[in-house]
Symmetry: C2
Subunit: 672 residues, 2 copies
């Protein structure tokens, strides 16, 4: 365990550590994958943090919007220079980029987000994924060395998740062998791309392709935005930043309009579709291939959610061990707030969720790799299933993560409202994920479409893909078995719930169609239920995956650790059973007595986990520099750190602010 806080550890926190029943390092290694991987991570963290790029004279929360951007550019350049160096030194391909930018480390240094991230996360991958071999040869070298900086412009002011509706046009001119880019309306302006505003000088632009008078839908084009020498916007490029946001004010999100901007034909990325010199459009072998990047990002997102939640529960749990409040028993000292069951109720589900999501992420990551391998060999069969799964998992995990972080913040009372707790900033980052990469409700309904189709296939007696095969049982009319009040029974119950909801949706859609409604209108009228069915499906998948993946791994754990981790599995599953009691009552044979037993089981689990709570979050092994929280530091010196942070406010540099003389005093004297 890394302890980067010199000085004495708070005695309450030390006591917590003393009574922890398992080996914290063993759990850290389990989370990282192995002791070697933990070591690798430690080395990487040390290498990056020892540069001191993250150290700020004045905390960035005190800067103006413009200063925040300027600080972000400075830090991003230094960080990316380091990555480039590590890359060359170790020759590790993309790995270092991902490890340093994603996960904990990147956000420790660039807390307001980075204006260079999309260069690596979207620009280079799109060049690699959608460029021909020649195009890759032309672009990748310069991008890799960062002699050009790119971003990826898809979303427009008027269209986000529904990408078919994008309005930017790229019209082929066979005379000059160029595409002409235009923004025909205000709503067609690109809006949101990170780094677009003042940082990138190149960009991949997604536009409606027109050739020979026909529209062929959206395609990617490489467009130079700014002069490489002067950085001035090129003619016809209308560019700027979109303004201040809830969070990520260092990302330099931009807008971009085109007025007859001409680019050579070769700047259309043509791995899949092509426009020949004469303007002939040659179709893509599979338009589904382009979904692959989107799915990749969604799968990676699930892992990001774990990192945000791990930070938040670490902060809130350590704080709750240090904070003492109220006096339920006369003549006894104030208890640690971690001793209150209501506080445990807020926090421990967060700890369990980190593990549940991490194992779900690794499970879907494996599936993703299998499916993309099949894709390479032309087998598209499992693509719709993976797509359906990635949609609902993205929606549910981002929503749960945001709620978890916010619950942690609120569980710290007023101090959680301080930016020095780092909880508000973390929420700002995590809540954005509910919207980007596909709005959550839209995604849930995409999964619902797959589920309804699966139901109809099941009714028709067709075989179902693995993740929806459970539907067959219920579709075949098998009755609910007697309720089994165990985690296995609950998992089965959750599948029953999902099934029951899908069936009810199908039924309601059909009924509505019979009254003369179109399918689309009937779908819309049922969409609140459909989104709920989709969520139920996802919950069943997550709890089953968490349970199964732990079962696979538990033999490798020491008995002490195994016990604690299985308590978390139980806690997670029982928590969700109690959250969904209404559904279980409707679709399974659970009884009032069972529910009361579950409630007691839950309360009992909270008490059992209580002594290990601090050990469990210590095992997330987040260095103080990365946690960046006055409430969550390893040494638990909460109040000293809160005060130390407060004293950094530039307002505290002077005893009397100048406005006393300019406004306050004249006002008080009636002379304003």
């Amino acid at each position: 365990m890394k302890n980067n806080s010199p000085g004495k550890v708070n005695v309450d926190l030390q006591n917590e550590r003393n009574k922890c029943t398992f080996n914290v390092t063993e759990l850290t290694n389990f989370i990282d994958g192995s002791a070697e991987k933990t070591l690798e991570r430690h080395n990487r963290e040390e290498k990056v943090l020892s540069q001191g790029i993250h150290i700020e004279e004045v905390p960035s929360e005190y800067l103006s919007h413009k200063e925040k951007y300027e600080l972000a550019v400075k830090k991003a350049c230094l960080l990316f220079k380091l990555i480039r160096y590590m890359q060359e030194e170790e020759n590790t391909g993309m790995d270092n980029y991902r490890e340093v930018l994603g996960g904990f480390l990147g956000s420790a240094i660039l807390q307001d987000g980075s204006p260079l991230t999309l260069h690596y996360v979207m620009f280079i991958p799109t060049l690699m994924g959608q460029g021909t071999v020649e195009q890759q040869a032309y672009w990748i070298g310069r991008s890799w060395s960062c002699s050009i900086i790119g971003t990826y412009a898809q979303t427009e002011l008027g269209h986000g998740t529904f990408i078919r509706g994008l309005e930017t046009t790229a019209t082929y001119d066979p005379k000059t062998k160029e595409f002409i880019l235009n923004s025909p309306t205000l709503t067609s302006y690109k809006w949101w791309p990170g780094g677009l505003a003042h940082t990138a000088n190149f960009c991949i632009v997604v536009a409606q392709l027109y050739t020979k008078g026909q529209c062929h839908g959206i395609h990617p084009f490489v467009v130079q935005l700014r002069d490489e020498e002067t950085h001035m916007p090129l003619p016809g490029i209308k560019i700027g930043e979109i303004g201040a946001k809830l969070g990520m004010n260092g990302t330099n999100n931009g807008f971009l309009g085109f007025e007859n901007v001409r680019i050579p034909r070769e700047h259309m990325l043509m791995k899949n579709s092509k426009v020949l010199e004469d303007g002939t459009y040659v179709n893509s072998p599979s338009s589904k291939l382009t979904y692959s990047t989107m799915m990749f990002v969604r799968v990676v997102l699930v892992n990001d959610m774990c990192n945000y939640m791990a930070k938040a529960v670490t902060i809130a749990t350590r704080y709750s061990a240090v904070r003492r409040q109220s006096q339920p028993k006369p003549n006894e000292p104030e208890p640690q707030i971690l001793d209150y069951l209501t506080q445990q109720h807020k926090l421990f589900i967060g700890i369990a969720t980190v593990h549940a999501f991490r194992l779900s992420a690794s499970w879907i990551w494996e599936m993703y790799n299998n499916v993309t391998a099949e894709l390479e060999s032309g087998d598209l069969e499992r693509l719709p299933e993976l797509h359906a799964l990635s949609c609902c998992l993205k929606a549910v995990t981002t929503a749960d993560a945001a709620q978890c972080v916010e619950k942690c913040r609120l569980s710290c009372g007023g101090h959680g409202y301080m930016l020095s707790s780092n909880l508000p900033l973390t929420y700002g980052l995590v809540t954005a994920a509910s919207t980007y990469e596909g709005e959550n409700t839209v995604l849930l309904l995409q999964t619902a479409r797959y589920l309804v189709k699966a139901w109809q296939q099941a009714i028709g007696g067709n075989q179902l893909t693995p993740t929806v095969s459970y539907i067959a049982k219920v579709a075949a009319g098998r009755r609910s078995p007697p309720w089994d009040n165990t985690v296995e029974g609950i998992i089965d119950g959750f599948y029953r719930v999902a099934c029951g909801k899908i069936a009810l949706c199908v039924n309601n859609i059909e009924k509505r169609q019979k009254t003369g409604m179109s399918y689309e209108d009937a779908w819309n009228m049922t969409s609140v239920q459909l989104a709920s069915a989709s969520e139920a499906h996802c919950r069943a998948i997550i709890i089953a995956t968490y349970y199964n993946e732990m079962e696979k791994r538990k033999a490798d754990l020491s008995p002490a650790l195994r016990q604690v981790l299985l308590q978390l599995v139980d806690l997670y599953i029982v928590y969700w059973a109690l959250e969904n009691v209404g559904d279980l009552l409707r679709y399974t044979s659970i009884s009032e007595r069972d529910i009361e037993q579950l409630q007691h089981w839950y309360e009992d689990l909270l008490s059992k986990i209580r002594p290990n709570a601090v050990g469990l979050v210590d095992a997330f092994d987040i260095r103080d520099e990365i946690l960046h929280s006055a409430l969550g530091a390893y040494d638990g010196r909460v109040y000293e750190r809160l005060m130390a942070e407060a004293l950094k406010s530039p307002l505290n540099a002077e005893p009397v602010n100048r406005t006393f003389h300019t406004h306050l005093k004249p006002f008080m004297q009636g002379k304003l």
Copy 2:
């Protein structure tokens, strides 16, 4: 209807207005209380806004933390000067302060909060409530004219909701007839009071009173903090600001420590308790009197919640009428997103909640006034009931309001993440209310204590206070009647649920005591259920109150408006029934068939309300200057306004930021 947006109204929004079935002005008058009150409000808004204090050259979100404070002081002084003038001109006592500071208007001008607010909201009222007549004579005049500016310092770094635990000491020295104030620990530093850091020069300090070697608990003292001429902190006063926060960065929240600060004996506010010259402590006639202010603030808070929600749903609903997205039917235009049932599901409950909470607020306001009138005549009987009610109402309404605002923000997709939407700032303000004036979980458990006591009284055959009298029925063992699938039936069902939960809690506490647990430990182990029972009680009260208050008023409404408002009542009650299906299944005889009917009823209500959605939010009658949102303006010119706001960013003032030369270019050329 005030339309302050010159220029054409978005055609979709105009169509919505054309098809509204009721008279919007009638609803506005209903909400304000009467046509006269609407006019008064309009006049007040015009008077304040015509001063132009709210107009900012650079939107405050682009300023640094220090600049935000300086802007807030400037604006607050100008606004309070205006209020002082209005006060003198119209001789309206406190009314103008409250109307201008609270509600919509204050936050339109001081969006990041005001450093002067506590002077009126806490300093003066505490002087009036807790000072003797002599003390009032001494202090009120100077406070009223603002020749001194005060604040109220209660919360400390180590203690918030649990005020008995405060550590600041005020020790009486009979030799000099002074109190000596000290901060014995770091955690005893005052922390949070608005305006404390650099604005106020006086303060009411809540401290543990020691005299003749004995502690007599917390009492209020008036302390001068800063020199009136120079504004320099006085000797022994350690003062500053607590740093940046999630929101309200204009409020100048401060910390305050004392080192042997001496104040005259007369500076203890002695209306209730006294310290005589020789140090003799004379007890308060009723320590409960001091709870009155806290209850007052909680009651007022419910109304504030309505204002935040009204803003958020106005923004999100208008935006949803303008925004078009996706194409469910081929060859048809993209629908307004307000046509999606899932979007209606997110928004319409917010509209209904504004009405539900407003009527609940007016109901409890009346009760508050009755109870305080009784208090004046020495009758304390209904105080515990009011206290219990104000606790759970504060907790539930602040939590619901925060969720409503956040749901509205997310319903606007990426654009809701822009500060120019004003949704993030609104969330920052509303979420703070879950913590201040009593942390929500703590408050729910205080109500639970009252409910458990009521249950025991009912079992003992004693009479119950009106708001818990429903408990008697169930406690007497009467069985659940057949389910009645109407709003009246649901209200009755909610009371059954609350009862059932209280009974189960009592049972569980007793069971645990029988295993040898202390009452306090048994209480703690059951506290997750207790908080849930308390919430169930509050939900029952709110839906019943909403229903009853509308029933009382409906005869005065035109048939068209009555129909719409009753649809909202139904929507609210059915929504909560569906949210609590599990509880209804456990504690009433509702059937699966009933639930499916409720679901259809709900979907049907959404469709019925849909054509009036824009009219309903227009009726909240929030001027554009107050709404302050690119997405929500009356004219619906969303995209033009988003772009106009973006262009105000100081980053957009130059085509190339200086960091291109200092960092980006050297980095790209490998020369950094």
